[in-house]
C-alpha cells in the first residue's frame, strides 16, 4: 500500500471546482513535483491533501504506516510571520507539538528532536535569534527544521523558493534532494518546471481540463512538456 492514494479528486474552493479527475499514488521515498499554471489548482490540491480545504469529491487514503497528520508542512510565508517576535528555538520546537498528545508541555524527547533537526539544518547556532531578523534562506531552514520535527516520513512544500536569490535557491534544492536521499518522501508544489524535471522522480502537472501523472522520464516524453517548449529525451 502507498503512503497516499488519491482517486478521482475534484479540487476547488467555495463550492467551485477548479480541476477534476486527478488520481495518483505517492510511495515511500519518492520525490513528487506538483506543477501547473497559477489558478490551475496545484495549491488547492496541496491544501486538500493536508486537510486545510475540504475534499469536494473523490478519496484520499493514507497508508503504509503514514498517519493522517504525520506530515511536515512548509507553507508559503504569511505576512504575520514577518514581524512575529519568536526565537528560532520556539518555532522549531512547536513542530513537535503533534507528538505530545494531550500533555500541555514539551518533554526531553521533543527538545532532543528539535535540537537534532536544528543541527541537521545547520541553524543550531541561530537558536536564540529572532526569526524576523534572519535572511530568507535562514528562515526557510527554520521552517524546514520545524517540518522535520512534525514528520520523519513526508514533507510537503509550498513554493518554497519564492523570494530567495538564485544561489540560496540552489542550496535549498540541494538540501531537499539530500533529505530525499536520506529516505524522506517529498511533495513539492512549484511552478519551476526546470527544477521539477531535474529533481523530481514523479510529476503531477495540473491543468484545467486535463492533468499528467507519471515519472519524470514519462513527463519528458509527454505533450505537456513539449507544449512548454521542452526538449525531447
Amino acid at each position: 500500500m502507498a503512503y497516499i492514494t488519491c482517486r478521482d479528486l475534484v479540487l476547488g474552493y467555495d463550492g467551485m471546482a477548479v480541476a477534476e479527475n486527478i488520481g495518483f499514488q505517492v510511495n515511500e521515498g519518492e520525490y513528487w513535483y506538483i506543477v501547473g499554471e497559477n489558478g490551475a489548482g496545484k495549491s488547492t490540491l496541496m491544501k486538500t491533501l493536508l486537510g486545510l480545504t475540504p475534499l469536494m469529491g473523490g478519496s484520499i487514503t493514507f497508508g503504509d504506516g503514514l498517519e493522517r497528520y504525520e506530515v511536515g508542512y512548509l507553507p508559503q510565508q504569511t505576512f504575520v510571520q514577518r514581524d512575529f517576535p519568536a526565537s528560532v528555538w520556539e518555532i522549531v520546537l512547536s513542530g513537535t507539538l503533534s507528538s505530545i498528545g494531550k500533555r500541555p508541555f514539551f518533554n526531553k524527547e521533543q527538545k532532543l528532536l528539535a535540537e537534532k533537526n536544528m543541527r541537521r539544518m545547520d541553524i543550531w547556532d541561530l537558536r536564540k535569534q529572532c526569526y524576523r531578523m534572519l535572511s530568507g534562506g535562514q528562515q526557510q531552514r527554520v521552517l524546514l527544521a520545524r517540518a522535520l520535527c512534525a514528520s520523519s516520513k513526508l514533507l510537503v512544500l509550498d513554493e518554497p523558493v519564492t523570494g530567495l536569490d538564485p544561489k540560496v535557491t540552489m542550496e535549498f534544492y540541494q538540501l531537499i534532494r539530500d533529505l530525499n536521499k536520506e529516505g524522506l518522501t517529498i511533495i513539492m508544489v512549484s511552478h519551476d518546471i526546470q527544477a521539477a524535471v531535474s529533481y523530481a522522480s514523479h510529476i503531477l502537472h495540473v491543468e484545467r481540463e486535463r492533468s499528467f501523472t507519471g515519472t519524470t522520464a514519462e513527463y519528458r516524453r509527454s505533450d505537456f512538456w513539449r507544449a512548454l517548449g521542452g526538449d525531447g529525451v
Partner: protein, 278 residues
C-alpha cells in the same frame, strides 16, 4: 504620600479595586499578545462597544445582575466577529465597524429613552470611561473576577504551546492535526469574558488600550514569544497598579490614568527598542 496611601489602603473598596485592577490587567495582557499578533485587535475593539450596548439593555431592563445579559451577548458577538473576520466574502473590517458603532448608538439611544436615572450623561460617561465604578465593587464581583482570572491564567499556561503554534502559523498547526478553529473560538470567548470584566475597570471605550498597549510595548524590545508574554504581563500589572494609585491620590479617573501610564511605557519602550536595534 505614603501616609495617604496607608490611609486609603485601610478601606476595603480600595483593596478590592487594586486586586481586581491587577488581575484584569494580567489577563488582558496575556491575551493581548495573541490578539495583536493574530491581527485580531479589532475583535477586542468591536466587542467593547457591543458590551456597552448590552450594558445599556441591561440597565433599561433594570436587572439586578447585569452580567447575566452582558456576558452572553458579548460572547455571542465574539463568535460572530470571528466568523466574519475569517470569511473573505464579507468585508470583515466593515462588518465590525458597523457592529461597534451600531451598538454604541443603540445603547445610548436606549439609555436616553428609558433610563430612570436623573443623570444620564453621567451614567453614559462612567460606562464609557470607567470613572469611579471600580471603587464601588461588591465582594461578589471581586470574587467573580478573581475566579475568572485564575481560570484564564490557568488555561493560558496549559495551552501556551498550542496557542503559540496557532498564533504563529495556523496552516501548519492545522496540517499537523491541531484544531485551530477551536483555539480561535476559545481565544474569542476568553476575550469577550475579559472585556466584560474589564469594563468595570477602565470603561468600554478604553478596554482595547489594556489589551493592545502592553503587547505592543513588549514587542518593541523583546524578540521571542515567551519573553514578550512575560514582559507584557509585567508592564500591564505595573501600569494598572501605578494608575490606580495615582488616580486615588490625585482623584483622576482610574481608567484614563491607567491608559496614560500604558502610553508612557509604550513611548519609553519604543525609544529603547530603537536604540537597541542600532
Amino acid at each position: 504620600m505614603i501616609e495617604a496611601l496607608r490611609f486609603y489602603w485601610s478601606y476595603p473598596f480600595v483593596r478590592y479595586a487594586v486586586v481586581v485592577g491587577v488581575l484584569i490587567a494580567l489577563c488582558s495582557s496575556l491575551l493581548g499578545v495573541t490578539l495583536v499578533l493574530k491581527r485580531f485587535s479589532y475583535i477586542g475593539d468591536g466587542l467593547s462597544h457591543v458590551a456597552f450596548g448590552a450594558l445599556a439593555i441591561a440597565s433599561v431592563l433594570n436587572l439586578s445582575s447585569r452580567m447575566t445579559v452582558v456576558m452572553p451577548i458579548t460572547v455571542i458577538a465574539a463568535i460572530l466577529l470571528l466568523r466574519t473576520g475569517q470569511n473573505a466574502k464579507i468585508q470583515g473590517d466593515a462588518a465590525i465597524a458597523m457592529l461597534s458603532v451600531g451598538s454604541l448608538a443603540v445603547g445610548y439611544l436606549l439609555l436616553h429613552l428609558f433610563s430612570t436615572s436623573a443623570n444620564i450623561s453621567g451614567d453614559v460617561c462612567s460606562t464609557l470611561f470607567g470613572s469611579t465604578s471600580i471603587l464601588t465593587l461588591t465582594r461578589g464581583e471581586v470574587w467573580l473576577c478573581v475566579a475568572t482570572s485564575v481560570l484564564v491564567v490557568a488555561l493560558f499556561c496549559l495551552l501556551y504551546n498550542r496557542i503559540f503554534a496557532v498564533t504563529f502559523d495556523e496552516s501548519f498547526a492545522k496540517a499537523t492535526g491541531l484544531h485551530a478553529g477551536a483555539y480561535n473560538l476559545l481565544i474569542a470567548i476568553i476575550t469577550a469574558v475579559i472585556i466584560v470584566l474589564a469594563m468595570n475597570l477602565v470603561g468600554s471605550l478604553l478596554i482595547s488600550a489594556l489589551v493592545i498597549f502592553p503587547a505592543l510595548s513588549a514587542m518593541r524590545v523583546i524578540q521571542n514569544f515567551k519573553g514578550v508574554v512575560f514582559y507584557s504581563a509585567i508592564i500591564s500589572v505595573c501600569c494598572a497598579l501605578v494608575g490606580i494609585i495615582l488616580a486615588i491620590l490625585f482623584s483622576t479617573p482610574v481608567g484614563a490614568t491607567i491608559v496614560v501610564a500604558n502610553i508612557v511605557v509604550f513611548l519609553i519602550n519604543s525609544g529603547v527598542g530603537r536604540v537597541l536595534r542600532r
